[in-house]
Symmetry: C5
Subunit: 327 residues, 5 copies
């Protein structure tokens, strides 16, 4: 599905009188100035749609195949002057406390950018509008779009990580609460989601670094500081992932230690309870003996005495347990 396609000249959107599918007309319109370019935005296109574009813009078949099938690792590839880039998009689904993954593929030529988005995260409509409002940036040509897309996607990473931070805080609270909680599954799931985020974030650092130092043909050196900015955010995200992962590991260990402390406390409670039942049973056993000569048995208040003995000794035992910190 074609979301939008437009021609930009010196940072401004040109009014073009043709169909969004008419790529040749679009390209022709973009031939006017130095930094003129076409930006075609696609959402989960079928093979047919992409083939048309591939033909019109001369894209490499291996890259096109990757863009159709998605499920690539983040990467940046050079095909005879043109760039092909894959970025993972992430978003947090509140209902499930889960991180979902999409993908954006970019084909970058001298006079065109084609963005192919899969999955519902990191919509680019907003990025396009913001970019169209920053004429100075947009006038740099295709690299401005690359920057805008990367910036949008990486900001979404940070938002996802903030949500995960909240989840980790909740886990932490739960682990160190007095309540009997089973946090293993929660921690496991969070670790699994962090691993997903890591797979999106870490491989993107190398392309950003290369953009920053101006080592990629088609991305001008002046764009360096902008990509360094995105790279900084990526570094923050990477650091945040490692911190959260390590906190989860520590929280898990603390959780296991907590279970063992609980076990110990419970065992001591149980043993105290058992003693409180066994001691009066012993007393009852004593007065159940059949000796001919047991003075208490003849007492008028012997029964009361026995009950008092049972209750009294139990209370004393209970107090002793409490005082000694056993219970």
């Amino acid at each position: 599905m074609i979301v939008d396609s437009a021609v930009y000249r010196q940072g401004e959107r040109l009014p073009v009188d043709c169909n969004v599918h008419d790529y040749d007309a679009l390209r022709a319109a973009a031939e006017g100035g130095e930094h003129d370019f076409v930006w075609v935005g696609l959402f989960e296109p079928d093979e047919h749609e992409l083939d048309d574009i591939a033909t019109a813009f001369g894209l490499h078949p291996l890259a096109v195949e990757d863009a159709v099938h998605a499920h690539q690792r983040p990467k940046l590839e050079l095909y005879e002057g043109n760039l092909f880039m894959t970025i993972k998009t992430l978003w947090y689904v509140d209902e499930d406390d889960a991180v979902e993954t999409g993908e954006i593929n970019l084909f970058i030529g001298e006079d065109f950018v084609i963005t192919v988005r899969h999955g519902h995260g990191s919509e680019l409509k907003q990025a396009r509008h913001e970019l169209e409002a920053r004429q100075a940036v947009l006038s740099h040509g295709p690299s401005a779009v690359v920057y805008a897309v990367c910036d949008t996607v990486v900001d979404a990473y940070l938002e996802v990580l903030e949500e995960l931070q909240i989840d980790v805080d909740q886990v932490e609270e739960s682990v160190f609460s007095e309540k009997r909680t089973n946090d293993s599954a929660r921690i496991y799931t969070l670790k699994r989601e962090l691993a997903e985020v890591r797979r999106a974030v870490l491989p993107l650092r190398e392309p950003m670094r290369r953009f920053t130092v101006g080592a990629v043909p088609g991305i001008p050196v002046e764009a360096g500081p902008f990509f360094r900015d995105v790279g900084d955010h990526l570094a923050v995200a990477a650091e945040s992932i490692e911190t959260l992962d390590s906190l989860l590991s520590s929280a898990f260990e603390a959780h296991v230690a907590g279970i063992q402390v609980q076990q110990n406390n419970d065992m001591r409670k149980i043993s105290a309870g058992a003693a409180l039942l066994l001691l009066p049973t012993l007393i009852a056993g004593v007065y159940g003996m059949n000796f001919d000569h047991m003075p208490e048995l003849r007492w008028q208040l012997g029964y009361l005495w026995a009950l008092f003995l049972m209750v009294g000794s139990s209370v004393a035992l209970w107090a002793w347990f409490k005082k000694s910190g056993w219970m």
Copy 2:
């Protein structure tokens, strides 16, 4: 065993009028054009068969020895202009939930490729057919065969990893189920198989990288993007291995934590059960005392009263256990 041998000219299989063993004739037939080459496919050849080929194609004795004995690490070696490559093949045996390992050795010269396969995985017949259907690729000469073999083998890695992913998902489900399961052995076996996959996948990355950047004599620079594609799949496989391994570790830890939680729950259940037996025993003990003056003993309904006391106190205790979350 010679599976197939053929001469290819400009991407097409030449009809050659000679025996599959007649290597000299085959080589002679391949001398016509620039990218002409012979492809000899062997399956677990004995030393004798390989010696013939070694003589005909001038292979290095150390490489031939490796190809006979198999059980090498994946590697790429240069012998006086010729290449020798070893790749591990993997396949998943459904009946045993096990990963099996084979090996393909390739001798690559300017005008020949010899593939020596050990074990039943990654048959190359299919790869040969597909390659013969892609004349443009095949016309690149021996490097096309190297690409086809690598591609076939690495795709099989991804399939094996998908099967292992399913196994890991099952383990995960089992670990977090309420049932009493002992998942240690399963996790251990999966870790062991992942280690086997890792040994096949990781050492192959370096040869792919060198093919991609065109640093290997005999593999033209134009073939780079194809090997980069294989390298991407390898990277996905490597990432998948690390993820699965780390998930298994986490699952194992969660399993151990689960055992401890289970232990704690069981202990509390046991203690409650014991209390439900000991409390009526105490009551029976009380009414088994031999005091002369115990009014209840004389009651007409004393016995019923005692039984009611036993049952009642037990029920009350049970309710209290339930309510307090102990049980």
Copy 3:
């Protein structure tokens, strides 16, 4: 908020007759000599204040944005000849046993330094006074201020780490004490704080290294030994972090082992206690049997005999437990 702004010539503070906000006048005053420069010190400025300065000194918008929002990673960036540096400040809050984080941003030009401080740690007033007292150092120009700030901040790191060392020593003592303590939460919190310190310390090593070898334009080679000194302190801090972290991990493991030893000891105590109750109960049960012919029942002192048997056997059992090391 502007804390202080001054012009320095050959290591001495110039009396300048203008408002602290009058940046153009300050800059003009600093145009006299070779190493003359302006040092403007800001504390949590609002966007407006910074914009004025950015205009006056020609700062890059991306850098200014970073300085307003704070929460950056430590970094050193080159913008068209000017330097932008971010350093994390740390301080230890005794009341909470917690480490707090602030930030100092530096804009360094040929004839100016602008320091932007966020958070209450590492005040620079003291650093400025000390620096003004060391004319020889100050006469090196802006790089002297960079050195002074780095030195102040890194010394604060070492102080924070000393406080954390004390906390770790306390944890250690608690873990190996005989008392029943639950140190998980404490260890977890300390690990979390160490992670925060690590995030401040580690990324600063690379800028220090670059200052030391004279690889940063605007920082003269002669300043190398001074930054090497700061780098040494950073290395000590980094080593200290790793040591503390690893000690905490070991302490945690010892803590868990301690819980298990405790569990075992408690279980043996409990079992001994149970035996001390069950043995006399058994004896009472024996003399509660209803055989017609039980000689002891007829004895005058039978009851005493039974009580003696109960107490005696319990005492003997207790002694045996003690002697055998069970209890």
Copy 4:
């Protein structure tokens, strides 16, 4: 002790008419041709024997000292044109299931090789015989001896690792058996032995790599493929070490998990046993109560009824435990 000393010319052993100690005569005999050399083989020589040789062949005192004292790390050192190499030998002692360590030191000059062996592993007599049978290889001069020694020693590594693999398989079987086994000590010992193997194997890789690429004076480039072969075996050994170590770690973890599962099973068995004793005790307690009006007590078959009740309730309880999977 001098084991053997000989002069080799063009790959053949020269008949020399002098004492094995007469180094000057040997050296003189080896001065004839280009690749002629002396090979002196020593076994645990005393300082005196080595001093003679050092004088005759001009060995560096630091190297000689190392060769006397043994207990060096594997290393390759260049002393003014001559090479000094230390290799660890390993052998497996079946009786103790233990790995023992020896050492071979090599002094390599243009026209001599001196091998100094310590410990009983990797005897070189066999290696000398095999080498003497391969004239083509031996004719390369001293580097052929280096190759033969390395090859022999590294093959012994692989044999030791196969033995350890068998031990690990046994541990694995023991860990996952139903029997109550204590595998900690076994696993610990194996880990310790693997560490010893690792200390022998890993530092040898760098010298092999340098031999392979021809970066060592005195080792000709043509010998590269041979040393690459040894290097491959070393790589297999290194991989095997890591795999075994990681398997042992996993096995240990599984062992600990197994103890906990066992603990849980035992606890449930114990609790069931206790219930089977406590329930009839309760029934006996009931019929031991002294109420005047307890009809069962008067029944002719009351006793049998009580016994039936005890046995019956116990059997029912037992059946319930079995059915519910508790026991």
Copy 5:
């Protein structure tokens, strides 16, 4: 405190007719020959003493400050042609089983060496005497002193590690003994001491490497083999540290597993003990029932029968526990 100061010419100590404090006279005396130099040895000097020396020999203030305050990391720094080096000294205190740390600082110029020792380890008097006995070495000038100091200090590392090896062996024995031991604290302390040793050893490797390859001005290339020798010892020490650390980790894990096995054994013993008490209690309960018709109660030997039943069943149960391996 000045321990000794002397002038060396061509490897021999010159008789100098001046006070040990008269640095200018000493320096003047050392101006005669090419490798003449002064060696001043100090022990924990105060700031004043060092200032005199700094003035006389032209030392850099930052280096002097480091030498006064000690507590540096091992390092090698170049100050305008002069070298400053810090080495940690270690010694083992038998009474406490503890490792103590000192420090030696060296100032190395073309014609002087100043050694500043802090703490009681690695006295240099012995090193000076030994060096004075090796004229050939000493004639190399200041670098000979650097070698002698490094050699002495590193040999002390190896001695300390041997002591720690003994401690680890003891821990090992304790962990795998049958006795109930609590080895956590011991293991923790040893790990802590190993960390201290590591901090001394690891950073020294880089300076040794640089000395070895002759990359440090003032240390001649010919001294390389000597420093390589020290570097080898350092490598042995580093390897030993890693091995001991990893053994301690494994021993700790085995210790924890041992506690759990102990727990399980104890629990089974306890349960057996409880059964041996509960079974006769049940029998006593049976014969304590009040049925009118219980034949055994009327038997002449009923009481004996009951006692026999109790003892007999307990013995049988005990035998069964033993036979089934439960106890």
